[in-house]
């Protein structure tokens, strides 16, 4: 694996364009945790013509619901959740100005099309590496929907958060390429 690329927030379309599938990155700055319930609430708010709790322009979303922090820690364990569950909401959210998504797993073609249109990069963090990933999180602040508990919308201050580009803003897909490369299965 090549040396990781250090990237910082705010994360713009220009920054996004520089990244390609397979790039290992270390993210420093602020990223925003939101998952199923927060996405539902945000897209419902948009449909009702209401303002969202934050301006998503040039921000990164992290599909996450952490464990509670132990006393003295900024956050509990905090690995990525399955991104695909957010796909129904994602094109609407990307139109709000998000330029980076962090999660794990496959995305629909509608999401990839919206990524290309909006210049968005999709990063994967390692699923299940939640205690390791927590070491890169310095601060966790709930921004909205505290009643959702682990599903609240929250701001994470991160330093060298490890991720890898799995779908770039041109729609290239690392999962597809690597799976084909290592596939020896015949007949199924």
């Amino acid at each position: 694996m090549a040396e990781p690329i250090r990237i910082h927030t705010p994360f713009t379309a220009e920054d996004s364009k520089k990244l390609h599938i397979g790039d290992s990155v270390l993210i420093t700055g602020e990223i925003y945790a939101a998952r199923d319930a927060a996405h539902k609430k945000m897209t419902e708010a948009l449909a009702a013509g209401e303002k969202l709790p934050i301006d998503w322009h040039d921000k990164m979303v992290y599909y996450l619901g952490p464990t509670p922090a132990k006393p003295g820690d900024p956050i509990g364990s905090c690995g990525p959740t399955t991104s695909g569950r957010m796909d129904a909401y994602t094109p609407t959210m990307l139109d709000q100005g998000i330029k980076g998504m962090i999660g794990k797993g496959s995305r629909t073609q509608a999401v990839v099309d919206s990524m290309k249109k909006n210049g968005v990069t999709y990063f994967a963090a390692v699923g299940g590496a939640a205690a390791y990933i927590a070491k890169s999180v310095k601060k966790y602040e709930v921004i909205a929907y505290p009643e959702l508990g682990p599903e609240a919308l929250a701001k994470l201050t991160v330093e060298d958060f490890p991720a890898i580009v799995v779908i770039d803003c041109e729609g290239n897909n690392l999962y597809d390429i690597n799976q084909k490369k290592y596939r020896t299965l015949k007949g199924y």
Binding site: G76, S77, G79, N178
Partner: protein, 280 residues
């Protein structure tokens, strides 16, 4: 008649929930290390390194290795000569889950109603409790806290007898290929063959309480476990980013079925394969 205080059950379940969340079973760690040695993809190797480092941090610092600390499946084997005193058995188990998840800083991931108003119960209860009455005067408790990322990708297929062994393999591979990298591979597969639709699913969960690398005592099913493991590791799915270590183990449980049926249930478990057993 032997007596067992409900409070003892609660205390034990609470401890088991915490231990299951913090300490990745040694058989899983050993299988991950073996996978790291043989993994061909550099990206896959990096993922396995991170997963192993993560397990070490979790174990040393008493932290959940995955943030999805799961919904708790509980298998109770209650001796018919045992008298539980001081409270209801199911309440005692759920109180243990609540205590373990609150005191252990584990994530509360359960909503009380699934469709219309998904409100978090805030203590990770209720668990999914299966109770079996057995001879003797002891209580055997097995917990299997199961995360949703992998649980969402399982499936059941109602095959017919003519489908045979090849039909079973096709059904399993269809589920695995459809799940792809989403259930956080390397995975462990729990497979239930036979019974009826629900029994096959329960057997697929029981299969995951067995160690990785163990085999079904029936050599025909043991052989099928090995064949399926080899096939799954040929898919290229690998450790999330593509590669050769897609699955660490395949555990099959089987049971009697109807003359017209051949149900196959596949529970996919991520590498966070939590299970704990205690006998009280």
């Amino acid at each position: 008649m032997r007596e067992l205080d409900a409070k003892t059950i609660t205390e034990n379940v609470a401890e088991m929930c915490k231990e299951a969340a913090y300490y990745l079973p040694e058989d899983v760690v050993a299988a991950l290390k073996k996978g790291r040695e043989t993994e061909k993809s550099p990206a896959g190797q990096a993922v396995l390194d991170q997963i192993l480092k993560n397990a070490e941090i979790a174990k040393t610092e008493d932290r959940p290795y995955c943030q999805d600390t799961g919904m708790v499946i509980v298998f109770l084997e209650v001796g018919q000569d045992l008298h539980i005193t001081g409270g209801d058995l199911n309440d005692a188990v759920n109180a243990g889950i609540a205590k373990g998840y609150v005191d252990g800083y584990l994530r509360k991931s359960v909503v009380g109603e699934p469709l219309f108003n998904r409100v978090n119960t805030k203590d990770n209860t209720p668990g999914v409790i299966y109770t079996k009455i057995v001879p003797g005067d002891q209580l055997k408790i097995t917990i299997e806290p199961k995360g949703a990322g992998s649980e969402n990708k399982g499936g059941v297929r109602m095959l017919v007898p003519a489908d045979g062994v090849e039909g079973v393999k096709k059904a399993v591979m269809d589920i695995v290929l459809h799940a792809s990298m989403n259930p956080c591979p390397p995975t462990v597969l729990g497979i239930g063959i036979g019974g009826n639709m629900d029994r096959a699913c329960v057997m697929s969960k029981i299969a995951l309480t067995r160690a990785v690398g163990s085999h079904n005592p029936d050599p025909r099913y043991a052989k099928l476990e090995d064949e399926l493991l080899e096939l799954v590791n040929q898919t290229g799915i690998g450790p999330q980013l593509g590669g050769t270590t897609t699955c660490l183990g395949v555990n099959i449980e089987w049971g009697p079925t109807h003359i017209a049926m051949l149900p196959v249930a596949v529970t996919i478990c991520c590498h966070a394969m939590r299970h704990k057993t205690r006998t009280l």
